[in-house]
Each structure stands twice: as C-alpha cells, then as structure tokens.
C-alpha cells in the first residue's frame, strides 16, 4: 500500500544545507514524487545536528526522524559529517534502552545531485514508519533522562546504562 | 638447548637422504635438538594442492595435529615444499569454515596452534652467528658459491613470512659467515621446474638450464640450495639438461647443510657428499686448507 494513501504520519527530517537539502531540491526539480509525511528542517551541516533535536522530536510525538548529510569526505565543512556519524551512531545504540524503537530513526548521506537517491530514501523511510505505525504515546516524566541521554550521545560518551 | 619438532618429509627418506642426515648432524652440532614428529605422513606436496585445497590441507594438518599431540607449538622441516604445504594449510585454516572442512577429513582434528618454519629459518633466527663462527674448523675460504633458494621458500611473503621474497639472504649470510665467497646470484627465487621432472622433463631442462647458465655467468664453483626438488633438478638432471640444451655444465649442487657441516668439521659420512651426482670434489678442492687460509 503506497504510503501517501493512508493518514499522514509525522516525520521530521534534519538536512544539511549543502548536500542533502540540495538533493531534496534536486528531487523536487526532477518532480520525483514522494510521500508527503516528511517535514524538513534545514541546518548548515550534519555536524550541527544535536541528538537532542532528535530526542525532542521523538519525545514530542514524531513517528520518525530522518537525518541526512553530505557523503563522508564530501563535507562542505571538511569533517562535520564524521562528527555527525559518531553522534548519531551512538544515539542509535541508546534509543532502544529508552524503549523507543530504533527503527524510527535513520541517518543517511545524500549529495546535492542525488535527487533519485533522495526520492528512494524518503519513500523507503516513510514506508518503514508506516509499517511501524504511529508512535506510542510518550511518558513525559522521563524527559530528564532523555535529555541526559542526548547530551551524552552528543559528546560521544559511553552507554548511559553502563556509566 | 633448543628443542623443536622435526618433520623430515618424504624426500628425506629417498632422493635427499643426504639433506636429512646433514641437517640432523649440523643441528646437533649447533645445539638444536630435533625431535621427530611421530608417525608423520606425507604433506601431499604439489599434487595434493593442485587437486583440492581441503585435501591438501588435511594431509598437512594431520602432521600439525601430530605436533600438537607432542605438546609442541613449532615444527621445522628442511624441505620448502613441505613447508609451503604446512604453512599454507595453517594460513587457510585461519578461516574457521575452511578449518572445519579440513578437520572433517581427519581422525584427530588439528587446532592450528603450530608454527612451521624451515630449518634454515630456525638456524638463522635462533643460533648466534658468533657461535657458528666459533665452531668453524674448516672455513670455506676459496670456494665461490651461488645460493639458490628456489621459488617457494619465501613466496608469497604473506604466507611464508621469512627473509625477503625477491632477494633472500639467509643462506648468503650463512655461507659468508663460513668464509665462502658468495657470488651475487640474480635468479635466487626463479623456479627450477619443480616437480615436473617426471611428467614434463623438457620444462625442467629449460628452467634449470637457465639457472645453471646464470650460475656459470656469475662464476660460481658450486650451487648451494635448501630444497630437495631444486637440488634434484639441478644435480641429478644436469646430464639430461646438458643433453637437451647441448651444454656442458659441471656445477656441483650442495645442500647448505652439507657445506655447513663440512665447515663445522662434521664426519663426512653424515654429510653424504658421495650421494651428489655431479662430482663435488673439484669444487671442494678449491677450499683452502685452514693453514693456508690463515
């Protein structure tokens, strides 16, 4: 069942300005049809993406979060995406600990010319989120834990459960 | 005293009896105790690995397993062909899947804990050159020697992990230590024709002929080798080569252990010079007597 035929879910995208945002533009210019669920927030660099943003999105009820930056070694800021990769990898490992399905979060690399790739990424991710269905409602009581977790992920520190 | 498991290899029982006996003699003299691997079997040699790698590995692994039973973690063999098989088997068995396949052919599985090294490597790495020097009673002064290593003793380097794959020096250094004049032999690692002597003698004639020619070119009185196959091709087949190429080579081909034993003054009977086909006496005659050498 194509994702756009059912009720929209809430998917937040964080895209770096130079590559992936451009890639999404290229997909638009090429009229590569995509599901409408995704809303994109533009940031200068994937290295600017604080795990806190992702955590906050999920906490506030987003059904999925997609992050995309420049391909490794192609970063406009030389190495921002390496920082991003480290932090996001860490976050991915932490999510299940807090009861969030890690499949609701994904990161990828798309360059400004890869319109088709962007279409594919969005379609696939949206399909995945629709398969998972709407996110279960979240207990705000643990917000403090969440924030602590995000801070640790941003600094690339170890798993919070094991110190 | 260094104690190490010893795998003589099939040729040591036949065509290279003198290599085996001289190896045992020099090791003893240099304080390396060789303990025969009990009930060792053939490593499969080239035929096995050209038929199937698991079969080849299993044939070698049986022997590695025997060494494990001895409670030892190192085995040495004089024969580079055996060495290649033992090391290649161990190298391949680093892949657990392959190891399982190989072990499935065996009664007693091999844990792959044994490192196989050539006797040459053992001598080069574990015996103090000064000790060897001190034990030399008949320096090899006066003889010009070309050291020929054969193609597989050092290749491929990722598996063999000893000396240099294009310009090995272990024998050169040893012979120089004994006082011989080592001529720079450029084809140290070229192939002699390997085991094709029987099925395709013509190949051996050509390849070994090329080596003999290069040896003559650099003015060698004799070859020194560490490989029974090389020795056989160059020595036993030298007459065939002369016939095939209309040549007249008369270059004796020693095992390095024979000359080492000679220099150490080991009983001639154990060195087996009489087993060489090309008469070595002329070459040995070039060695100056110690009195003159000094």
């Amino acid at each position: 069942m194509p994702a756009q035929d059912v009720r929209e879910l809430r998917i937040v995208g964080f895209l770096c300005n130079w590559c992936s945002y451009g890639g999404a533009d290229t997909a638009g210019v090429g009229r590569f049809t995509q599901p409408t669920d995704l809303r994109i927030i533009r940031v200068p660099c994937s290295g600017r993406i604080d795990p806190l943003f992702i955590v906050r999105s999920l906490m506030n009820g987003a059904d999925g979060v997609l992050v995309s930056g420049c391909h490794p070694r192609d970063c406009h800021y030389a190495e921002g995406n390496f920082y991003a990769r480290r932090r996001l990898e860490m976050l991915k490992r932490f999510l299940p600990i807090t009861g969030i399905d890690a499949r609701r979060f994904e990161y990828t690399w798309v360059s400004a010319s890869e319109g088709q790739r962007w279409q594919h990424v969005v379609t696939e991710f949206t399909r995945r989120i629709h398969e998972l269905g709407p996110a279960p409602s979240f207990n705000p009581a643990s917000e403090a834990d969440w924030n602590a977790l995000a801070v640790q992920a941003s600094q690339g520190q170890g798993c919070p459960c094991h110190g | 005293m260094l104690k190490i498991a010893y795998y003589p290899g099939c040729s040591g029982q036949g065509t290279s009896l003198e290599y085996d006996s001289s190896t045992r003699a020099v090791c003893k003299a240099l304080g390396v105790e060789l303990v025969d691997v009990p009930d060792w079997s053939c490593c499969g040699s080239t035929p096995a690995h050209t038929v199937n790698h698991v079969l080849s590995s299993a044939l070698s692994a049986r022997n590695l397993a025997q060494v494990e039973v001895m409670g030892m973690d190192k085995v040495t063999t004089p024969c580079p062909s055996c060495l290649t098989n033992l090391r290649t088997a161990a190298h391949k068995m680093e892949d657990p899947e392959f190891k399982a396949k190989s072990n499935a052919l065996l009664d007693v599985p091999c844990n792959n804990t044994v490192d196989a090294q050539s006797v040459l490597q053992v001598l080069a790495e574990n015996v103090d050159p000064e000790l060897i020097k001190s034990k030399v009673v008949k320096p090899l002064t006066g003889i010009k020697i070309a050291c020929y290593y054969g193609c597989i003793m050092n290749r491929p380097p990722e598996v063999m992990k000893f000396d240099h794959h294009e310009n090995p020096m272990a024998m050169d250094n040893l012979m120089a230590l004994l006082g011989a004049e080592v001529v720079p032999f450029p084809l140290k690692v070229e192939c002699c024709g390997a085991s094709y002597g029987i099925p395709r003698g013509d190949i051996v004639h050509k390849l070994s002929g090329k080596l003999l020619d290069a040896g003559r070119d650099v003015g060698a009185d004799a070859f020194v080798t560490a490989c029974p196959l090389c020795q056989m091709n160059l020595d036993l087949r030298q007459r065939q080569i002369n016939d095939a190429l209309r040549e007249n080579f008369r270059i004796p081909v020693f095992y390095y252990t024979q000359l080492l034993g000679y220099a150490l003054g080991i009983d001639r009977a154990e060195l087996g010079f009489e087993k060489l086909c090309v008469d070595p006496r002329l070459a040995l005659g070039r060695i100056k007597q110690p009195a003159q050498a000094m």
């Binding site: 409408t36 200068p44 604080d50 906050r56 920082y83 | 794959h165």
Partner: protein, 660 residues
C-alpha cells in the same frame, strides 16, 4: 513582534497543487503574524515591491516568504527586506515548491504540509535577531610557499597585479623540479631557457621578497590578516655580501657528499651553488658535511672568499610577515622505487630514475649532457623505460595515475635518440595517457619518427647478465613474455606528496587527502581554493600536474588572490558561533572540535579560561554548538532555541498539544 507572511504561487508551479490562499489564511492564526497574503511571483520586481510596501505600511519587523528553495532566492529576499529597512536576518523562507508542490500529488495534503512549513518558519523567525557583518581591513601582501614553476607564476602574477609578495622556498634556489629538467614536452624546448627568465624576474621584481632555505614555522590569523613566521635556516654565508663568484666552491676540499640537485648522481662540495642559473645565486654551506662545522678544522672557503662573507656562527633566523592571502605551491616528490625489490633495490647501478635521467640528459648535469651509464660510464645503446613505477599500483598504496610520466617518458625516448642516434629505446607501459593539446601526437612521434619500441605490459624483474641488465616483462598485446637486454633502465617513478606537506597542511588548516595532496574546495568549480578562506593552491601540491597545468593554476590562484585583496574591506558572515561567557566553563571541548581552529582560549577578568570565537575564521558549521556540554556556544541564526522552535512547531510538546 510583527510578522508578515507571503505565499507565492510561482505561476501554477505551486498554486497547481497547493491551495495558496488557504495557506495564507491559516498563517494569520500563528502567533505574531499580523499580515498574510498570497502573491503570483514573489521574486519578481512587483512581488518584491509588494513585500517592501507591506513592511513599511504594516510596520512589520519580520518577513516569511513561502516559495521556492532558499538555495535559489534567499539572497534576493534578504536584499529586499534590507531595502525595506529591516535587518537581512529578520527573514525566513519556507520551501513549498521543491519540497511540496513538485513532489506531492494530493492537493489537501500538500496544502497542509505547506501550512506547517510556514508555521515552522514563523516560529523560527520569532527567535531571530538582527545580525550585522563585521567589516575588516586586509593586509595587502601575499605569501607564496614553494618556488617551483607554479609558485613562481603565482608570485609574478600577484606582484604584477600590484600586491607585495613574499616567496618562501625550502631549498637553496627556486625553480623546483622544472629547474632540473633538460627539455620539456610537448615542444621539447629547453627547460632552463623558459624557466630561467622567470626566475630572474622573481629576483628583480621590486614587489617580491624572496626567502630561500626557508620554511613556514607557524601561521596565525585569518583571511585578510594572517601572521606567518618563517624560519630562515642558517646558510653560514652572509647573503647580503655574497656575490656568487664561486671561488669558495672551487676551493672546498670536502667533496664527498652526494649532490641532491643532481639526484645524487655525483657529489657536491660542502659549500655550493646548486646550479649555474640558481636564484638567488648565493653560496651555502652544507652543515652535515662541512669539515669546519663537523670537525672544527678547514675554513678554506673563508680564506678564499673575496668579500669575507662566510660566517660559521650563523644561526637560524625567524621572521614574521603579515599577509592577507597565502598561495601553497609546494609541489610533489618522487616515489621511492626501492619499494619494488624486483627492480634490484639499488643493487644494479644502471637502474636509475627518470629524474636522474633528466640530469644525465641535461647539459648542466654531471655528465655535461653526454648520456653515460653510472656503472662504467659507457654510452648505453639499449635503453629500457618502465612506466607506472609507483603509480596505479595498489600493492604499494599508489592507486592513482601520476599524470605526466607517460609524456616525459616519450620525451626522454625522443631525447635518447637525439643524443645517441644508434640507440634503441623500449618503453614498457600499461596505458598511454596523453590528453592535451599536441600530447598524443607527441607520443606517436616517439614511436613513429624516433622508433621507440613501445611494449604494452609491466616488467616483472630485472637481473644482470654480463654487463647487461635483462628486463623481463610482458607484451600483453602479443600475449606473451619478453626479455630485453638493456644497457640502462630508466624508471618512470610516479609523483607523491611533497615531504612535509601534511605538517604544513596542519599549520594552514588545509586538509591533505589520503596520499598527502592538498584538498581543493571543489574538484571542478573551486580547483585552486581551499576550505580555509584566504588560502589557495597551485601546482602539483594539489595532485600530480605537468608544467602547463601547474602554471595555469599558479595564475588562477593569483587571480583569486588579486580578487580577494582588491576589496578595500572584507565582510565576514555574521552567522557564526558566539560564546556566552556566563555559561562557558572553559572546558575547551569546542576548541578541540572546531575543524577550522576558529575558537581560541581567552581569560575573563577573573583569570578564568573562556572560549572565544574568531568571527572571521568561523565558517558557521555549528559543530562546536553540539559539542559544548553547557550550551554556551551557539551558532547564530541556527541556535538550539531556533531549531527547537521548529521542532516544536512541527511536533507540539504534549502538554500544550492543543494550543491551536
């Protein structure tokens, strides 16, 4: 705050699948929005005028335009709001064309999505603050590092363009590799005849200061205002007095040290002028071999020098120069072919490198231009060239093509025939790479007119036989093995990064690639720029390049420098990071993380360490912002609060879920 919202139809581009008036109507409900309308073409003259008019009439202090991608028209609208009297950063865009109307088919879903994107923009705008660019003056002086042909060209072009230039060269003379070459392809003209005059121009140009025997010690500052410290190494000769007469060179008794200029084919005296056309033409003492400096006795040069300029006590000297821009032109080095043991590892004297062969061919070389082989001085008849030595070979970690060796090998084959008419050249090659004007014709000429025998295949081994070297290779076109008895073997060694390039890159904050060549800003569109503003690249330091390309880049880098320094003042982008000293605990994490070295440590008035961003260096990536555990360093225009406002607009926090 008073916000105005403009929803663009873009003809039917947006309006076709988005209900623009309804988006505009919805926007009016958002906080602080006091005006909302839809417009046919927001970017057109009338569209912009309408925005300006609305700002003035409705007294707006912020504008949201929902239209195409900001990558297209953000600047256009920023200039428009500026014309209306607002700060250019009091503006936000919502991308409802590329991200909505062009990719979604369903009108009501598109309309809903467009409304939400507008709401995000509004929420962000509510937290924007006016930002103003800093303006600063630039130092009208250029540093060129490396005096090869690329650096020489860049220096001359900059100086001719009116800028002062400081040229720093590591060796005793400028000229680089080109100074060692005999002739150059594809015209086979004499290398020193074309390069020599340029070198003289460097020496004589009133705007150029030349420091040879010098290296960059440290670099501080930022675009327009770098402070560079240069180490001038001791030459033990007072160059202000030395006339280059060469008397000392003749008299020096210590002559056993290999001569690097002649690629170690011969020895050089301890006091030397590397070659007749050297610039500057001054003598220098090699402290490693000089008898006086190593053993304390000799001094022959000091006795003979007519102007008494020998100074055994001379020390290295540090000079600091202020420059506005830097051109890096440090060139390349040659692959160490000893990594191929099958070529003899140096055991065979008649196996030499291509650069050594250039010296043998050169009239100013050790043999006076007579090709003699090193082992016995005989003239070689069979010369074998082996290409791709240390190039296109993964096993030695050099998978790339060095680009110019095919061409110089063809040149050397031609020159061999010129020098020794009864010689025969053989060239072992894998492919012939000769794109360029007159290049392929040139390699064809080597074969067709000069009879060079080209053999397609690599060489497996070289071994001596008698006084010949047998080269055993493959002829893959004939499908078999070949052997050639050679008198001389010339290895076309590949190019690799210059020694010390990585360390220099660290000082300049220019990243080297995995092989040590400097990375340009964009492989196609910014080939001489780097990611560090004000630092440019020229020549083979960016990747293997022949002389025409190196010179081209030298001029291109100069054009960039002149463009930069032609502005009286530079403006820095105000969307940079800023530290809140009250929150900063001085942990230094941001300093370590910033890829551009844009953060420095300062002390507040109590002596506590604090971070401080250098506006002009910061590139606005925001990596530091995520790193700071205190949230003390915030990237302006993309602060945590601004981005979280967008998140909240999109996914309202549960407790206020129904605030609408």
């Amino acid at each position: 705050m008073r916000i105005g919202v403009f929803i663009c139809h873009c003809g039917s581009n947006i309006a076709g699948t988005v209900d623009c008036p309804s988006v505009a109507a919805t926007a009016l409900k958002y906080p602080d929005v006091v005006f909302s309308t839809d417009t046919m073409y927001a970017c057109s003259e009338p569209g912009q005028d309408a925005i300006i008019q609305a700002v003035k009439e409705k007294n707006l202090d912020g504008v949201v335009v929902a239209s195409c991608t900001p990558r297209m028209h953000e600047q256009t609208f920023r200039r428009a709001v500026e014309r209306a009297g607002l700060n250019r950063y009091m503006f936000e865009m919502a991308n409802i064309r590329e991200h909505v109307s062009w990719i979604g088919k369903t009108k009501d879903l598109n309309t809903g999505k467009a409304s939400e994107l507008v709401r995000m923009a509004v929420e962000k705008l509510r937290r924007n603050r006016p930002l103003t660019a800093k303006r600063f003056e630039t130092t009208k002086r250029v540093l060129v590092i490396g005096g090869g042909v690329a650096g020489i060209q860049a220096a001359l072009d900059c100086a001719d363009g009116g800028q002062e230039v400081v040229l720093v060269e590591r060796e005793q003379s400028i000229g680089g590799k080109m100074a060692k070459l005999d002739k150059t392809f594809p015209t086979v003209d004499c290398s020193s005849c074309v390069l020599g005059p340029k070198m003289v121009d460097i020496a004589q140009h009133p705007k150029i200061t030349l420091y040879t025997c010098s290296e960059v010690e440290s670099v501080g500052g930022y675009v327009g205002n770098f402070q560079v410290t240069v180490r001038r190494k001791a030459t033990y000769v007072d160059w202000t007095k030395c006339t280059g007469c060469g008397l000392c060179v003749e008299k020096c008794p210590s002559r056993k040290h290999p001569d690097p200029f002649n690629e170690n084919l011969c020895n050089a005296p301890s006091i030397n002028i590397p070659f007749p056309q050297a610039i500057p033409k001054k003598a220098a003492i090699n402290p490693v071999s000089c008898l006086m400096l190593t053993k304390g006795k000799c001094g022959a040069c000091a006795k003979v020098c007519p102007v008494k300029c020998i100074d055994f006590e001379q020390k290295d000297e540090l000079v600091t120069v202020d420059v506005g821009a830097i051109v890096v032109a440090t060139g390349y080095d040659l692959f160490d072919w000893h990594k191929y043991p099958q070529y003899g590892e140096g055991r065979y004297k008649d196996v030499i490198t291509s650069m050594q062969y250039e010296r043998l061919l050169s009239a100013s070389g050790p043999t006076g231009g007579h090709v003699k082989r090193p082992s016995d001085g005989k003239e070689p008849k069979n010369v074998v060239f082996i290409q791709c030595v240390g190039s296109r070979d993964k096993s030695v970690n050099r998978p790339y093509c060095s680009g110019f060796c095919c061409m110089y090998t063809a040149k050397q084959a031609i020159l061999t025939k010129d020098h020794i008419p009864d010689s025969q050249s053989y060239v072992f090659y894998m492919d012939i790479r000769s794109p360029g004007k007159l290049y392929d014709e040139f390699t064809r000429r080597a074969m067709e007119e000069y009879g060079a025998q080209y053999v397609r295949g690599r060489v497996a081994m070289i071994y001596p036989k008698g006084d010949k070297l047998i080269v055993r290779g493959a002829d893959t076109l004939a499908g078999t093995q070949v052997e050639v008895p050679a008198d001389l073997v010339v290895l076309a060694v590949g190019a690799e990064a210059a020694k010390g390039a990585v360390q220099l890159g660290e000082k300049l904050r220019v990243a080297p690639d995995q092989y040590g060549f400097f990375v340009e800003s964009h492989p196609k569109l910014k080939p001489v720029e780097t990611n560090t503003a004000g630092v440019f690249l020229a020549g083979a330091c960016q990747g293997p390049k022949d002389i025409p390309a190196s010179v081209g880049q030298g001029s291109a880098a100069a054009a960039k420098v002149l463009g930069l320094l032609s502005k009286a003042m530079l403006e820095s982008d105000p969307a940079v990071s800023r530290v809140n000293p009250a929150r900063c605990v001085g942990c230094g994490k941001c300093i370590q993380t910033c890829p551009f070295g844009a953060i420095k440590e300062v002390q507040d008035r109590f002596g506590n360490p604090k971070a401080e961003v250098i506006d002009t260096v910061c590139q606005g990536c925001g990596i530091c912002t995520v790193t700071c555990p205190q949230g003390a360093i915030q990237l302006e225009h993309f602060t945590d609060n601004q981005i979280l406002a967008e998140v909240n607009a999109l996914c309202p926090p549960k407790m206020f879920a129904n605030y609408e």
